[in-house]
Symmetry: none
Subunit: 221 residues, 2 copies
DNA sequence: GCGATCTCTCAGCGTTTCCTCAGCCGGCGG
DNA sequence: CCGCCGGCTGAGGAAACGCTGAGAGATCGC
Protein backbone atom coordinates (compact mmCIF):
# COMPACT_ATOMS: atom_id res chain seq x y z
CA UNK A 1 0.00 0.00 0.00
CA UNK A 2 2.81 2.34 0.82
CA UNK A 3 4.77 1.18 -2.15
CA UNK A 4 6.04 4.16 -4.03
CA UNK A 5 4.62 6.87 -1.82
CA UNK A 6 6.81 9.87 -2.52
CA UNK A 7 7.04 12.65 -0.02
CA UNK A 8 8.80 15.99 -0.18
CA UNK A 9 9.94 17.55 3.07
CA UNK A 10 10.82 21.25 3.02
CA UNK A 11 12.37 22.57 6.22
CA UNK A 12 15.40 24.70 6.82
CA UNK A 13 16.22 23.15 10.17
CA UNK A 14 18.43 20.49 8.72
CA UNK A 15 18.61 18.28 11.76
CA UNK A 16 14.87 18.14 12.07
CA UNK A 17 14.42 17.60 8.34
CA UNK A 18 16.89 14.74 8.45
CA UNK A 19 15.17 13.03 11.32
CA UNK A 20 11.77 13.40 9.68
CA UNK A 21 13.27 11.86 6.57
CA UNK A 22 14.75 8.94 8.46
CA UNK A 23 11.48 8.31 10.23
CA UNK A 24 9.37 8.43 7.09
CA UNK A 25 11.76 6.20 5.22
CA UNK A 26 11.48 3.69 8.03
CA UNK A 27 7.72 3.87 7.53
CA UNK A 28 8.13 2.90 3.90
CA UNK A 29 7.92 6.27 2.19
CA UNK A 30 10.35 7.60 -0.35
CA UNK A 31 11.48 10.97 0.92
CA UNK A 32 13.21 13.92 -0.71
CA UNK A 33 14.52 16.91 1.21
CA UNK A 34 14.70 20.57 0.40
CA UNK A 35 15.85 23.38 2.65
CA UNK A 36 14.47 26.60 1.28
CA UNK A 37 11.23 27.90 -0.15
CA UNK A 38 12.31 28.58 -3.68
CA UNK A 39 13.89 25.19 -4.26
CA UNK A 40 11.02 23.54 -2.44
CA UNK A 41 8.52 25.20 -4.71
CA UNK A 42 10.34 24.18 -7.88
CA UNK A 43 10.68 20.63 -6.72
CA UNK A 44 7.10 20.37 -5.57
CA UNK A 45 5.98 21.67 -8.90
CA UNK A 46 7.76 19.10 -11.01
CA UNK A 47 8.42 16.28 -8.63
CA UNK A 48 5.16 14.35 -8.78
CA UNK A 49 4.92 13.80 -5.03
CA UNK A 50 2.10 12.20 -3.10
CA UNK A 51 2.41 14.61 -0.22
CA UNK A 52 4.45 17.62 0.83
CA UNK A 53 5.52 18.51 4.36
CA UNK A 54 6.22 22.21 4.39
CA UNK A 55 7.60 24.47 7.07
CA UNK A 56 6.03 27.93 7.21
CA UNK A 57 9.12 29.89 8.17
CA UNK A 58 11.57 29.34 5.38
CA UNK A 59 14.35 31.21 3.63
CA UNK A 60 13.52 32.09 0.05
CA UNK A 61 9.75 32.05 0.07
CA UNK A 62 7.67 31.17 3.06
CA UNK A 63 5.26 28.29 3.34
CA UNK A 64 2.07 30.20 2.63
CA UNK A 65 3.66 31.61 -0.45
CA UNK A 66 4.71 28.25 -1.74
CA UNK A 67 1.27 26.73 -1.25
CA UNK A 68 -0.44 29.68 -2.88
CA UNK A 69 1.92 29.52 -5.83
CA UNK A 70 1.47 25.78 -6.21
CA UNK A 71 -2.30 26.00 -6.13
CA UNK A 72 -2.19 28.85 -8.63
CA UNK A 73 -0.12 26.59 -10.87
CA UNK A 74 -2.76 23.93 -10.54
CA UNK A 75 -0.63 21.65 -8.42
CA UNK A 76 -2.94 19.99 -5.93
CA UNK A 77 -0.55 17.71 -4.08
CA UNK A 78 -1.66 17.46 -0.44
CA UNK A 79 0.34 19.82 1.73
CA UNK A 80 0.90 19.56 5.47
CA UNK A 81 2.18 22.78 7.00
CA UNK A 82 4.58 22.88 9.91
CA UNK A 83 4.13 25.93 12.06
CA UNK A 84 6.52 27.11 14.77
CA UNK A 85 4.05 29.36 16.48
CA UNK A 86 0.54 28.33 17.32
CA UNK A 87 -1.22 31.65 16.91
CA UNK A 88 -4.59 31.08 15.37
CA UNK A 89 -4.23 33.20 12.33
CA UNK A 90 -1.27 31.60 10.73
CA UNK A 91 -2.89 28.21 10.90
CA UNK A 92 -6.22 29.39 9.58
CA UNK A 93 -4.50 31.37 6.88
CA UNK A 94 -2.50 28.34 5.84
CA UNK A 95 -5.61 26.27 5.43
CA UNK A 96 -7.32 29.12 3.64
CA UNK A 97 -4.52 29.38 1.20
CA UNK A 98 -4.90 25.79 0.14
CA UNK A 99 -2.97 23.63 2.57
CA UNK A 100 -4.62 20.39 3.65
CA UNK A 101 -3.48 20.08 7.23
CA UNK A 102 -1.00 21.52 9.68
CA UNK A 103 1.05 20.63 12.71
CA UNK A 104 2.50 22.84 15.37
CA UNK A 105 6.11 22.34 16.37
CA UNK A 106 7.11 20.51 18.36
CA UNK A 107 5.05 17.63 17.12
CA UNK A 108 5.07 13.92 17.66
CA UNK A 109 6.35 11.80 14.90
CA UNK A 110 3.52 9.33 15.18
CA UNK A 111 1.04 12.10 14.67
CA UNK A 112 2.94 13.34 11.65
CA UNK A 113 2.74 9.93 10.03
CA UNK A 114 -0.92 9.56 10.88
CA UNK A 115 -1.70 12.94 9.37
CA UNK A 116 0.23 12.21 6.22
CA UNK A 117 -1.56 8.91 5.78
CA UNK A 118 -4.92 10.56 6.30
CA UNK A 119 -4.06 13.30 3.85
CA UNK A 120 -2.96 10.94 1.13
CA UNK A 121 -5.90 8.64 1.64
CA UNK A 122 -8.40 11.43 1.36
CA UNK A 123 -9.23 12.33 -2.23
CA UNK A 124 -7.61 15.62 -3.13
CA UNK A 125 -10.25 18.16 -3.98
CA UNK A 126 -8.85 20.49 -6.57
CA UNK A 127 -10.29 23.88 -6.02
CA UNK A 128 -12.04 25.05 -9.13
CA UNK A 129 -10.43 28.04 -10.78
CA UNK A 130 -13.47 30.21 -10.43
CA UNK A 131 -15.87 30.31 -7.57
CA UNK A 132 -19.51 30.05 -8.47
CA UNK A 133 -22.47 30.40 -6.15
CA UNK A 134 -25.86 30.73 -7.71
CA UNK A 135 -25.75 33.58 -10.20
CA UNK A 136 -22.43 34.80 -8.83
CA UNK A 137 -19.06 34.08 -10.35
CA UNK A 138 -15.74 35.17 -8.95
CA UNK A 139 -12.34 34.52 -10.45
CA UNK A 140 -9.73 35.11 -7.76
CA UNK A 141 -6.83 35.24 -10.18
CA UNK A 142 -8.25 37.95 -12.43
CA UNK A 143 -10.34 39.51 -9.68
CA UNK A 144 -13.34 39.52 -11.93
CA UNK A 145 -16.85 39.23 -10.62
CA UNK A 146 -20.00 38.61 -12.56
CA UNK A 147 -23.48 38.72 -11.16
CA UNK A 148 -26.11 37.13 -13.34
CA UNK A 149 -23.76 37.31 -16.30
CA UNK A 150 -22.77 40.94 -16.17
CA UNK A 151 -19.48 42.15 -14.82
CA UNK A 152 -19.33 44.26 -11.70
CA UNK A 153 -16.46 46.26 -10.27
CA UNK A 154 -15.57 45.65 -6.66
CA UNK A 155 -12.97 47.34 -4.52
CA UNK A 156 -10.33 45.25 -2.80
CA UNK A 157 -12.24 44.99 0.46
CA UNK A 158 -15.52 44.27 -1.20
CA UNK A 159 -13.92 41.53 -3.23
CA UNK A 160 -12.24 39.96 -0.23
CA UNK A 161 -15.51 39.95 1.61
CA UNK A 162 -17.46 38.41 -1.23
CA UNK A 163 -14.75 35.85 -1.89
CA UNK A 164 -14.76 34.71 1.71
CA UNK A 165 -18.51 34.42 1.75
CA UNK A 166 -18.47 32.48 -1.48
CA UNK A 167 -15.74 30.12 -0.32
CA UNK A 168 -17.91 29.27 2.65
CA UNK A 169 -21.32 29.55 1.12
CA UNK A 170 -22.38 26.20 2.50
CA UNK A 171 -22.69 27.69 5.95
CA UNK A 172 -23.50 30.89 7.76
CA UNK A 173 -20.45 33.06 8.33
CA UNK A 174 -20.34 35.21 11.45
CA UNK A 175 -19.41 38.87 11.45
CA UNK A 176 -16.52 38.35 13.81
CA UNK A 177 -15.18 35.61 11.60
CA UNK A 178 -15.34 37.98 8.65
CA UNK A 179 -13.61 40.62 10.69
CA UNK A 180 -10.87 38.12 11.43
CA UNK A 181 -10.35 36.88 7.92
CA UNK A 182 -11.20 39.80 5.69
CA UNK A 183 -9.98 42.60 7.93
CA UNK A 184 -7.43 40.57 9.89
CA UNK A 185 -7.82 43.10 12.66
CA UNK A 186 -8.78 42.39 16.20
CA UNK A 187 -10.60 45.00 18.21
CA UNK A 188 -12.54 46.41 15.30
CA UNK A 189 -16.20 47.16 15.14
CA UNK A 190 -18.41 44.69 13.33
CA UNK A 191 -20.22 47.65 11.85
CA UNK A 192 -17.57 47.75 9.11
CA UNK A 193 -18.76 44.38 8.01
CA UNK A 194 -22.35 45.54 7.87
CA UNK A 195 -21.39 48.60 5.91
CA UNK A 196 -19.47 46.54 3.36
CA UNK A 197 -22.16 43.93 3.04
CA UNK A 198 -24.35 46.88 2.11
CA UNK A 199 -21.86 48.06 -0.52
CA UNK A 200 -21.50 44.63 -2.07
CA UNK A 201 -25.23 44.13 -2.12
CA UNK A 202 -25.73 47.31 -4.04
CA UNK A 203 -23.32 46.08 -6.67
CA UNK A 204 -24.16 42.42 -7.06
CA UNK A 205 -27.78 42.46 -6.13
CA UNK A 206 -29.58 42.54 -2.84
CA UNK A 207 -30.46 38.85 -2.85
CA UNK A 208 -26.93 37.54 -3.27
CA UNK A 209 -26.14 37.81 0.42
CA UNK A 210 -28.76 36.86 2.94
CA UNK A 211 -28.69 38.04 6.52
CA UNK A 212 -29.18 35.45 9.21
CA UNK A 213 -30.11 37.49 12.22
CA UNK A 214 -27.97 36.82 15.24
CA UNK A 215 -25.61 34.62 13.25
CA UNK A 216 -24.12 36.35 10.25
CA UNK A 217 -24.34 36.23 6.47
CA UNK A 218 -24.52 33.65 3.77
CA UNK A 219 -23.84 33.90 0.04
CA UNK A 220 -26.57 32.36 -2.04
CA UNK A 221 -26.22 34.07 -5.41
CA UNK B 1 -13.71 33.09 22.01
CA UNK B 2 -12.94 30.96 25.02
CA UNK B 3 -16.12 32.08 26.63
CA UNK B 4 -18.00 29.04 27.75
CA UNK B 5 -15.52 26.44 26.65
CA UNK B 6 -16.34 23.40 28.72
CA UNK B 7 -13.76 20.70 29.20
CA UNK B 8 -13.98 17.31 30.86
CA UNK B 9 -10.81 15.86 32.35
CA UNK B 10 -10.80 12.14 33.11
CA UNK B 11 -7.74 10.89 34.99
CA UNK B 12 -7.42 8.67 38.03
CA UNK B 13 -4.26 10.36 39.29
CA UNK B 14 -6.08 12.88 41.38
CA UNK B 15 -3.17 15.18 41.98
CA UNK B 16 -2.44 15.46 38.31
CA UNK B 17 -6.10 15.86 37.43
CA UNK B 18 -6.43 18.66 39.96
CA UNK B 19 -3.46 20.52 38.66
CA UNK B 20 -4.66 20.20 35.08
CA UNK B 21 -7.99 21.55 36.20
CA UNK B 22 -6.43 24.50 37.96
CA UNK B 23 -4.32 25.30 34.95
CA UNK B 24 -7.16 25.12 32.47
CA UNK B 25 -9.42 27.19 34.67
CA UNK B 26 -6.72 29.83 34.78
CA UNK B 27 -6.75 29.74 30.98
CA UNK B 28 -10.42 30.57 30.96
CA UNK B 29 -11.94 27.13 30.47
CA UNK B 30 -14.71 25.65 32.56
CA UNK B 31 -13.43 22.29 33.75
CA UNK B 32 -15.13 19.24 35.22
CA UNK B 33 -13.23 16.29 36.69
CA UNK B 34 -13.91 12.59 36.68
CA UNK B 35 -11.67 9.83 38.02
CA UNK B 36 -12.71 6.61 36.36
CA UNK B 37 -13.65 5.38 32.95
CA UNK B 38 -17.26 4.54 33.57
CA UNK B 39 -18.17 7.84 35.17
CA UNK B 40 -16.09 9.64 32.58
CA UNK B 41 -17.97 7.97 29.79
CA UNK B 42 -21.37 8.82 31.23
CA UNK B 43 -20.42 12.39 31.79
CA UNK B 44 -18.85 12.80 28.40
CA UNK B 45 -21.98 11.43 26.87
CA UNK B 46 -24.38 13.85 28.49
CA UNK B 47 -22.23 16.73 29.45
CA UNK B 48 -22.14 18.76 26.26
CA UNK B 49 -18.40 19.46 26.46
CA UNK B 50 -16.23 21.23 23.93
CA UNK B 51 -13.31 18.91 24.54
CA UNK B 52 -12.35 15.90 26.61
CA UNK B 53 -8.96 15.12 28.07
CA UNK B 54 -8.83 11.41 28.67
CA UNK B 55 -6.23 9.21 30.31
CA UNK B 56 -5.72 5.84 28.66
CA UNK B 57 -5.06 3.80 31.80
CA UNK B 58 -8.16 4.12 33.89
CA UNK B 59 -10.10 2.06 36.38
CA UNK B 60 -13.53 1.07 35.11
CA UNK B 61 -13.05 1.25 31.37
CA UNK B 62 -9.88 2.34 29.67
CA UNK B 63 -9.47 5.33 27.42
CA UNK B 64 -9.68 3.50 24.10
CA UNK B 65 -12.83 1.90 25.24
CA UNK B 66 -14.41 5.17 26.22
CA UNK B 67 -13.58 6.84 22.92
CA UNK B 68 -14.87 3.91 20.94
CA UNK B 69 -18.08 3.86 22.90
CA UNK B 70 -18.57 7.59 22.56
CA UNK B 71 -18.07 7.53 18.81
CA UNK B 72 -20.45 4.63 18.55
CA UNK B 73 -23.00 6.68 20.45
CA UNK B 74 -22.56 9.49 17.97
CA UNK B 75 -20.76 11.76 20.36
CA UNK B 76 -18.08 13.62 18.41
CA UNK B 77 -16.61 15.83 21.07
CA UNK B 78 -12.86 16.21 20.40
CA UNK B 79 -10.85 13.85 22.59
CA UNK B 80 -7.23 14.26 23.61
CA UNK B 81 -5.71 11.08 24.98
CA UNK B 82 -3.12 11.06 27.74
CA UNK B 83 -0.76 8.14 27.55
CA UNK B 84 1.56 7.03 30.33
CA UNK B 85 3.77 4.88 28.21
CA UNK B 86 5.18 6.20 25.03
CA UNK B 87 5.27 3.09 22.95
CA UNK B 88 4.09 4.23 19.58
CA UNK B 89 1.49 1.62 19.04
CA UNK B 90 -0.91 2.48 21.76
CA UNK B 91 -0.93 6.03 20.49
CA UNK B 92 -1.62 5.03 16.93
CA UNK B 93 -4.37 2.78 18.20
CA UNK B 94 -5.93 5.67 20.02
CA UNK B 95 -6.02 7.84 16.93
CA UNK B 96 -7.36 4.97 14.89
CA UNK B 97 -10.15 4.44 17.34
CA UNK B 98 -11.40 7.98 16.98
CA UNK B 99 -9.38 10.21 19.29
CA UNK B 100 -8.27 13.55 17.88
CA UNK B 101 -4.88 13.97 19.45
CA UNK B 102 -2.74 12.58 22.21
CA UNK B 103 -0.01 13.55 24.65
CA UNK B 104 2.56 11.43 26.41
CA UNK B 105 3.04 11.89 30.11
CA UNK B 106 4.86 13.78 31.37
CA UNK B 107 3.79 16.66 29.19
CA UNK B 108 4.21 20.39 29.23
CA UNK B 109 1.16 22.29 30.26
CA UNK B 110 1.60 24.86 27.53
CA UNK B 111 1.51 22.12 24.95
CA UNK B 112 -1.64 20.70 26.47
CA UNK B 113 -3.42 24.01 26.17
CA UNK B 114 -2.21 24.52 22.63
CA UNK B 115 -3.41 21.08 21.61
CA UNK B 116 -6.79 21.62 23.18
CA UNK B 117 -7.19 24.91 21.41
CA UNK B 118 -6.18 23.41 18.10
CA UNK B 119 -8.54 20.51 18.62
CA UNK B 120 -11.48 22.69 19.41
CA UNK B 121 -10.76 25.04 16.56
CA UNK B 122 -10.56 22.43 13.87
CA UNK B 123 -13.49 20.32 12.83
CA UNK B 124 -11.33 17.22 12.73
CA UNK B 125 -13.84 14.57 13.51
CA UNK B 126 -16.76 14.49 11.16
CA UNK B 127 -19.78 15.56 13.09
CA UNK B 128 -22.86 14.39 11.28
CA UNK B 129 -24.12 17.28 9.24
CA UNK B 130 -27.73 17.44 10.34
CA UNK B 131 -29.63 16.45 13.43
CA UNK B 132 -32.79 14.52 12.79
CA UNK B 133 -35.50 13.58 15.23
CA UNK B 134 -38.73 12.25 13.82
CA UNK B 135 -39.99 14.75 11.26
CA UNK B 136 -37.56 17.40 12.49
CA UNK B 137 -34.28 18.24 10.81
CA UNK B 138 -31.77 20.78 12.02
CA UNK B 139 -28.56 21.74 10.28
CA UNK B 140 -26.34 23.58 12.75
CA UNK B 141 -23.99 25.00 10.13
CA UNK B 142 -26.61 26.65 7.97
CA UNK B 143 -28.98 27.06 10.89
CA UNK B 144 -31.77 25.65 8.83
CA UNK B 145 -34.67 23.83 10.39
CA UNK B 146 -37.25 21.75 8.60
CA UNK B 147 -40.35 20.33 10.15
CA UNK B 148 -42.03 17.65 8.10
CA UNK B 149 -40.12 18.81 5.05
CA UNK B 150 -40.88 22.50 5.09
CA UNK B 151 -38.43 25.10 6.26
CA UNK B 152 -39.12 27.18 9.34
CA UNK B 153 -37.38 30.28 10.59
CA UNK B 154 -36.19 30.28 14.17
CA UNK B 155 -34.55 33.03 16.17
CA UNK B 156 -31.23 32.43 17.88
CA UNK B 157 -32.78 31.46 21.19
CA UNK B 158 -35.42 29.28 19.67
CA UNK B 159 -32.83 27.48 17.62
CA UNK B 160 -30.53 26.92 20.58
CA UNK B 161 -33.41 25.50 22.55
CA UNK B 162 -34.54 23.16 19.83
CA UNK B 163 -31.01 22.06 19.09
CA UNK B 164 -30.39 21.16 22.69
CA UNK B 165 -33.60 19.21 22.90
CA UNK B 166 -32.80 17.39 19.69
CA UNK B 167 -29.27 16.55 20.76
CA UNK B 168 -30.72 14.92 23.85
CA UNK B 169 -33.95 13.63 22.45
CA UNK B 170 -33.48 10.20 23.97
CA UNK B 171 -34.28 11.53 27.41
CA UNK B 172 -36.37 14.13 29.20
CA UNK B 173 -34.58 17.44 29.61
CA UNK B 174 -35.37 19.51 32.70
CA UNK B 175 -36.16 23.20 32.59
CA UNK B 176 -33.29 24.13 34.83
CA UNK B 177 -30.92 22.20 32.61
CA UNK B 178 -32.22 24.12 29.63
CA UNK B 179 -31.80 27.34 31.53
CA UNK B 180 -28.19 26.36 32.17
CA UNK B 181 -27.29 25.34 28.66
CA UNK B 182 -29.41 27.51 26.43
CA UNK B 183 -29.51 30.65 28.57
CA UNK B 184 -26.20 30.18 30.37
CA UNK B 185 -27.68 32.35 33.08
CA UNK B 186 -28.11 31.42 36.68
CA UNK B 187 -30.83 33.03 38.70
CA UNK B 188 -33.33 33.27 35.88
CA UNK B 189 -36.93 32.26 35.89
CA UNK B 190 -37.85 28.96 34.28
CA UNK B 191 -40.83 30.73 32.80
CA UNK B 192 -38.57 31.91 29.97
CA UNK B 193 -38.14 28.30 29.00
CA UNK B 194 -41.87 27.71 28.97
CA UNK B 195 -42.40 30.80 26.90
CA UNK B 196 -39.84 29.70 24.34
CA UNK B 197 -41.06 26.16 24.19
CA UNK B 198 -44.35 27.77 23.25
CA UNK B 199 -42.73 29.84 20.50
CA UNK B 200 -40.94 26.85 19.03
CA UNK B 201 -44.04 24.72 19.14
CA UNK B 202 -45.96 27.28 17.17
CA UNK B 203 -43.33 27.18 14.48
CA UNK B 204 -42.44 23.51 14.18
CA UNK B 205 -45.70 21.97 15.25
CA UNK B 206 -47.27 21.36 18.61
CA UNK B 207 -46.39 17.67 18.69
CA UNK B 208 -42.66 18.06 18.18
CA UNK B 209 -41.98 18.78 21.85
CA UNK B 210 -43.86 16.87 24.50
CA UNK B 211 -44.24 18.08 28.06
CA UNK B 212 -43.44 15.66 30.83
CA UNK B 213 -45.19 17.11 33.82
CA UNK B 214 -42.88 17.75 36.73
CA UNK B 215 -39.82 16.69 34.75
CA UNK B 216 -39.31 18.76 31.63
CA UNK B 217 -39.51 18.40 27.87
CA UNK B 218 -38.61 15.93 25.23
CA UNK B 219 -38.19 16.31 21.47
CA UNK B 220 -39.99 13.61 19.53
CA UNK B 221 -40.49 15.19 16.11
C1' DG C 1 -1.26 69.97 -4.89
C1' DC C 2 -5.72 68.31 -5.98
C1' DG C 3 -9.51 65.54 -7.06
C1' DA C 4 -11.13 60.79 -7.13
C1' DT C 5 -11.48 56.70 -4.80
C1' DC C 6 -11.44 53.84 -1.06
C1' DT C 7 -11.81 52.67 3.80
C1' DC C 8 -13.64 53.14 8.03
C1' DT C 9 -16.27 55.56 12.05
C1' DC C 10 -20.28 57.55 13.89
C1' DA C 11 -24.93 58.28 14.82
C1' DG C 12 -29.75 57.53 14.03
C1' DC C 13 -33.55 54.69 12.48
C1' DG C 14 -36.81 50.95 12.20
C1' DT C 15 -37.35 46.29 13.21
C1' DT C 16 -36.89 42.04 15.59
C1' DT C 17 -35.97 39.63 19.57
C1' DC C 18 -35.88 38.84 24.35
C1' DC C 19 -37.69 38.65 28.72
C1' DT C 20 -41.01 39.86 32.49
C1' DC C 21 -45.46 40.06 34.22
C1' DA C 22 -49.80 38.62 35.09
C1' DG C 23 -53.67 36.07 34.16
C1' DC C 24 -55.55 31.66 32.51
C1' DC C 25 -56.20 26.72 32.10
C1' DG C 26 -56.44 22.04 33.62
C1' DG C 27 -55.20 18.09 36.30
C1' DC C 28 -54.83 16.33 40.91
C1' DG C 29 -55.22 15.90 45.77
C1' DG C 30 -57.95 16.94 49.58
C1' DC D 1 -66.49 20.37 44.73
C1' DC D 2 -62.77 23.34 45.56
C1' DG D 3 -58.18 25.10 45.83
C1' DC D 4 -53.45 24.50 44.44
C1' DC D 5 -49.67 23.79 41.62
C1' DG D 6 -47.45 23.33 37.29
C1' DG D 7 -47.61 24.69 32.83
C1' DC D 8 -49.17 27.88 29.03
C1' DT D 9 -49.64 32.24 26.68
C1' DG D 10 -50.95 37.29 25.46
C1' DA D 11 -49.20 41.80 26.09
C1' DG D 12 -45.78 45.13 26.22
C1' DG D 13 -41.42 47.56 27.20
C1' DA D 14 -36.41 47.39 26.91
C1' DA D 15 -32.65 46.09 24.54
C1' DA D 16 -30.24 44.22 20.74
C1' DC D 17 -29.55 43.99 15.96
C1' DG D 18 -28.89 45.33 11.30
C1' DC D 19 -28.93 48.92 7.81
C1' DT D 20 -27.71 53.27 5.96
C1' DG D 21 -26.37 58.30 5.11
C1' DA D 22 -22.92 61.50 6.17
C1' DG D 23 -18.49 62.51 6.40
C1' DA D 24 -13.44 62.32 7.95
C1' DG D 25 -8.81 60.36 6.91
C1' DA D 26 -5.81 57.88 3.74
C1' DT D 27 -4.15 56.75 -0.52
C1' DC D 28 -3.25 57.12 -5.27
C1' DG D 29 -2.80 58.99 -9.87
C1' DC D 30 -2.44 62.97 -12.43
Amino acid sequence: MLADMRILVVDDERTLARSIQRGLVAEGFAVDLEHDGTAGYERARWGDYDAIVLDIMLPGRNGYDVVTALRAEDVWTPVLLLSAKDGEHDVADGLDVGADDYLTKPFSFVVLVARIRAMVRRPATPRPAVLAVGALELDPSTRQVRAGGLAVDLTVRELALLEYLMRHHERVVGKVELLDHVWDGEGEDVNVVEQYVGYVRRKVGRAAIVTVRGAGYRAVG
